[in-house]
């Protein structure tokens, strides 16, 4: 039991150790804390990796697929391990980048320990099979990231954190209200017990619909789906770039893991799925369309990335809509969503880190500021190009594989679901324009610039992320089967 929780224990111990050692260090020595957290995340990542390996081996041998303990509170299955890999990978890249990006900032101890605590919350959210634990874990991650968004106490940073905090607290209220209604209807907070207790007939209590609406709205804020998205551009633009990377690549994915667990386990009776799948279909359609169309008009790169992140969340929401279809294999559609969550985490995190690398040389985040970046910071510009092409869904990059999988699932579903697939294609074409515009500025715009030495650790983070993007794009087999297995482990 304890060995299944070892990665979390490691992260918790390192988070506490960072804040403790922070008290004993002089301001100049605090960079050490970043390396310490890097080690912690590295150890946890290695542990989760071996967990994934042994779970995959167990699946291949058709053995028991998951460990469940604390009277069903926590469930370690491949689904949870998949998300823990995503969170830890993003945390690793962000900490690696932050070592350079926050070199001149104060409060390093707080910064790194908050990142570790947020990661801890996300990891528990991935494993939670109980509404209360899920809520506490989501709140641990949210509260840590509220403080991270305000890390630099300037005007934009404070505005970003304020908006994020108010909206985040409000959405948490909606979520907990929805959860309390579910508890009131079923008398249990365990997701599997709720699924047992809910009636299997097509007649619902209106309170159940209300609970579904509250949960979708609350988590809709957290994933920045369209009617609930207005905080995201301001927050991602105002927060320091590594924090934006962490928010877009990890924090948002945590909301997806919670949505998947609640809706696929607790609210999974077929008659009810039809109801919420329609809601998700509408959300997906407007989210991807509005996110991509508004991104066209942005002149600030961080804002543009924020809107693109909204659009990409729309692609993942398609998966929820597909669950009502009987034509498509459940594992295919969920696996497509999982793979897109993984690839989007890497490429969007990488893109924000590239902006962080540029701001290391006081280069702003407006489009014109990036003019001539290809000659000034060649590694940053090249990796940024890879991330942007991957986000647009160009073949041989990771984004293509996961988008293709979502498209395959929606075509297999057929009928009205084809509309969502067609919207996905149209939006990808639209998005290519604003991604390519950044590339054009970086390489083809006239600018008087000279080559500069790029920050080493940030470049390492960028190159690792870019290599992963290419690797997934060229050899997608193992990642596709990993996400398919993760999807199927949810139900076994």
């Amino acid at each position: 039991m304890l060995e299944a929780l070892m990665p979390e224990l490691v992260i918790a111990v390192f988070a506490l150790a960072v804040i403790f050692i922070d008290m004993t260090l002089r301001e100049d020595d605090k960079e050490f804390l970043g390396y310490l957290s890097l080690v912690g995340v590295g150890i946890a990542l290695a542990m989760v990796f071996s967990q994934a390996k042994s779970l995959l081996a167990a699946i291949a041998a058709k053995q028991a697929l998951q460990v469940s303990f604390f009277s069903g509170l926590i469930r370690v299955d491949l689904f949870a391990v998949f998300f823990k890999l995503v969170f830890l990978l993003v945390a690793l890249l962000v900490i690696l980048g932050s070592l350079d990006a926050t070199r001149k900032d104060k409060y390093k101890g707080e910064y790194y320990s908050l990142i570790l605590f947020a990661t801890l919350g996300m990891m528990f959210a991935a494993m939670a099979a109980d509404l209360v634990l899920l809520f506490v874990a989501v709140e641990l991650a949210s509260i840590s990231t509220f403080a991270l968004a305000a890390f630099r106490k300037n005007r934009t940073g404070t505005e970003a954190a304020m908006k994020y905090f108010v909206i985040g607290a409000f959405s948490s209220g909606l979520i907990v209200f929805g959860m309390s209604l579910l508890y009131g209807l079923t008398g249990s907070t365990n997701l599997y017990a709720i699924a047992e207790a809910l009636p299997k007939t097509a007649e619902f209590h209106w309170v159940l619909i209300l609970a579904v609406v509250f949960l979708i709205a609350g988590f809709g804020y957290k994933v920045a789906a369209v009617p609930f998205h207005m905080w995201a551009p301001d927050t991602y633009q105002g927060a320091p770039s590594p924090v934006s990377a962490f928010l877009a690549a990890a924090s948002k994915k945590m909301a997806f893991v919670a949505l998947l667990r609640i809706f696929l386990i607790a609210l999974s009776m077929p008659a009810l799925v039809k109801e919420w799948a329609l809601l998700f279909a509408i959300l997906a359609a407007i989210t991807m369309t509005l996110g991509n169309v508004v991104a066209l008009a942005q002149t600030n790169i961080k804002r543009m990335l924020a809107y693109s992140s909204i659009g990409q969340a729309g692609y993942v929401l398609i998966v929820f809509a597909l669950l009502a279809s009987t034509q498509v294999d459940l594992n295919l559609s969920i696996g497509a969503g999982l793979l897109h969550i993984l690839t989007h985490a890497i490429m969007k995190g990488g893109a924000f880190l590239a902006v962080a690398a540029a701001s290391y040389y006081m280069i702003g985040s407006n489009l014109e500021d990036f003019a001539g970046l290809g000659r000034r910071l060649p590694v940053t510009a090249l990796t940024m190009t890879i991330f942007l092409l991957s986000l647009a869904g160009i073949p041989f990059f990771a984004g293509f594989v996961s988008k293709f999988m979502i498209l395959t699932a929606s075509i297999a579903a057929g009928g009205a679901y084809l509309i969502l697939g067609i919207l996905l294609i149209i939006n990808s074409v639209v998005s290519l324009y604003y991604y390519a515009r950044v590339i054009r500025y970086m390489y083809f715009a006239e600018a008087e610039v000279k080559r500069e030495r790029e920050p080493l650790l940030l470049s390492v983070a960028l190159v690792v992320a870019a290599l992963l993007v290419i690797y997934i794009g060229v050899f997608p087999d193992s990642f596709v089967s990993l996400s398919l297995n993760a999807a199927s482990s949810l139900f076994s």
Binding site: L16, I19, F20, M23
Partner: protein, 125 residues
């Protein structure tokens, strides 16, 4: 008892609650006679001390630090009490867990102490 009967208590509470203030004010007005208006009667009543100064006093915002620290100890009490009650049945395992729990909370207190949250009015000096 049927569902309707269960709610009779609540209904009674609502009715009595609505009548009570009206009734007391009415009885008080009977006792208050004769009317002798004096300026002291219109002063703000504050524990029999004569009010002084304007009402728009600024409170020190540093109170919130103490509120935050209070939460640490509040949470500690909430979790220590059930542990103390079941100490005999859980034994050493629970004791070790509680020590870890207190250590984490103590770390929070030490952090606040180090950052000067326990110094009153440090912004003013």
């Amino acid at each position: 008892m049927s569902v309707g009967e269960q709610y009779i208590t609540i209904a009674l509470f609502v009715i009595v609650g609505a009548i009570f203030p009206v009734l007391t004010i009415f009885v008080a007005s009977l006792l208050r006679k004769p009317r002798t208006p004096e300026p002291q009667k219109y002063l703000t009543y504050e524990c029999s001390v004569l009010p002084f100064g304007p009402a728009w006093v600024q409170h020190n915002v540093e109170y919130y630090m103490y509120a935050l620290l209070f939460v640490i100890f509040d949470v500690e009490t909430v979790f220590l009490y059930p542990w103390a009650m079941t100490y005999r049945s859980f034994g050493l395992f629970a004791t070790v867990e509680v020590i870890i729990f207190i250590a984490v909370l103590a770390l929070g207190l030490a952090y606040a102490w180090k950052k000067g949250a326990l110094e009153w009015m440090r912004g003013w000096r």
